[in-house]
Symmetry: C2
Subunit: 299 residues, 2 copies
């Protein structure tokens, strides 16, 4: 079995193994090794392990050997297919281990891995990564986790080495839900922003100057989002952003302006349709957040 080379206090130091040495797995393994963990690494292709060995990590010949080496086994592979292949190769080595799987995947896949782990005598924690490899080991990368609470608490200190962490509950799928929902909010903003940069450019406005003004106005969104979430929760919809009666009057101008420039208007047309329906249903005095009532799945 591989052993650590992390120096004098190696026997007392906590042990961790990392399966998968892509950019992210390598950054994780390096962080553990540099902070004195007895770190064992494995990668399907051996070449990637060399820099980690130099950083003090032991290199295992197989995933099973790496898994046997530590109570905590961090899995960071390309995709779920790779995870399933590696898990299937572990045999008895996984028994009694805590698997922390950081590989990208859906909530359903995470729940499937948790079942597999349970059937093989292991604890399972699913994690997702919000940030880039250079930020591993700093507070500027966020890891939502979910799954076995007991295992999370037992290894919280080690996981905290990686960045800002949060625990989202026993449902192994919860970390993936959080990740996908956060990414979706970001992508909705960003793709809408890029479409609107087409609009400002078509109108001869400097895109960077416009963006500076958008960036300045972003400070107003956190309290607005929080008041909207509260309205959604209570069903009490005040006229946020003005009443729908007033807002709807603006939408036709916005849509025809975008169309006149050849700028995409999918969301603006949807918002107008939703506003018109709320007004027709007698809710024209409510605000933007009340559109939630019409969105699928209802109830």
């Amino acid at each position: 079995m591989a052993t650590s080379t992390t120096g004098g206090s190696a026997d007392a130091a906590p042990r961790v193994s990392v399966l998968g040495l892509g950019d992210m797995g390598s950054a994780i393994a390096r962080t553990f090794a540099e902070r004195g963990y007895r770190t064992t690494v494995w990668n399907r292709t051996a070449g990637k392990a060399a820099p980690l060995a130099e950083a003090g990590a032991a290199v295992a010949a197989t995933a099973a050997e790496a898994t046997q080496a530590s109570p905590l086994v961090v899995v960071c592979l390309l995709d779920t297919a790779a995870v399933e292949q590696v898990l299937a190769s572990l045999g008895d080595a996984v028994e009694g281990r805590v698997l922390v799987n950081l590989t990208s995947g859906s909530p359903a896949q995470a729940r499937g891995h948790a079942r597999w782990a349970g059937e093989h005598g292991a604890d399972y924690i699913d994690g997702k990564i919000m940030g880039d490899p250079p930020y591993v080991g700093t507070p500027n990368i966020m890891f939502p986790f979910s799954g076995s609470r007991e295992a999370f608490q037992a290894h919280e200190a080690a996981l905290k080495e990686l960045g800002t962490i949060a625990y989202h509950g026993e449902d192994a799928g919860a970390a993936a839900v959080e990740f996908m929902a956060q990414v979706a909010v970001g992508y909705e903003l960003l793709i809408g922003f890029l479409h609107t940069l087409r609009l400002v450019r078509a109108e001869g406005v400097d895109a960077e100057e416009f963006t500076g003004r958008v960036a300045a106005s972003m400070a107003g969104y956190p309290p607005l989002l929080e008041s909207m979430a509260k309205a959604v929760k209570t069903g009490e919809y005040g006229p946020d952003l003005g009443s729908l009666n007033v807002q709807a009057a603006l939408m036709d101008d916005m849509i025809s302006h975008r169309e006149s420039l050849g700028v995409e208007a999918v969301r603006m047309r949807e918002v107008k349709r939703l506003m018109d329906r709320r007004i027709a249903d007698g809710h024209g005095d409510q605000g933007f957040s009340s559109l939630f009532e019409l969105l699928p799945p209802r109830g």
Copy 2:
């Protein structure tokens, strides 16, 4: 002709007229009156003028009379149709005046008003209002202006009484462009956010707690938007948010997850399509901002 009742220094005080006394027009007129401007007001239906008269404003019997009373005439009506009707009633009264039209409308409508003003011997400034009536007179309401630079500079001090102001250039349509583009970015974020609240609720996650985490992560967006705008301007697209190769792998999971819950996925499918096209074109090493290249109108 109506005269001001603003007290002792009334003759020296600057004069301003306000046409239209809805919630916003009333708040504007009140702000001017309370700050010592010789304020003249007019509204189609006379009842709304009474509270302004109590606040010290003179009440004109017609829009033309109000326009004659002051060098600066602020127009704040329901819509462009109302503006056109009132402008047509002004006759010679408008000559030599500066019209500041804050009524909601498109860039093309603003440009039309500017032409009309030019033909009738008046200067024209278009303005839009980003905020609600209670904030008039505070820094927490934003007024983008555009049109005659000379007229704007001559009346900048008066316009500053209303809130935070910015001048967007001689093109009378520029304030409406700014307004519509800013509103669009906000609506894109907010409708995407509401759809994603459906997702988190369907997954049993507390909407308010999720929103708290979204709100906390918003601080990361201003620098990201600014780096994206820079990439769009220079055409040098680094791997922001990770390379498209990596991001695209995630999109199928996100889309199928949303579809499995009955949550809308229009934008996520669009983003996936765009990512796939960029990758097929050999740009898989670039980032999210490079999707701009595929958005209409191109060039």
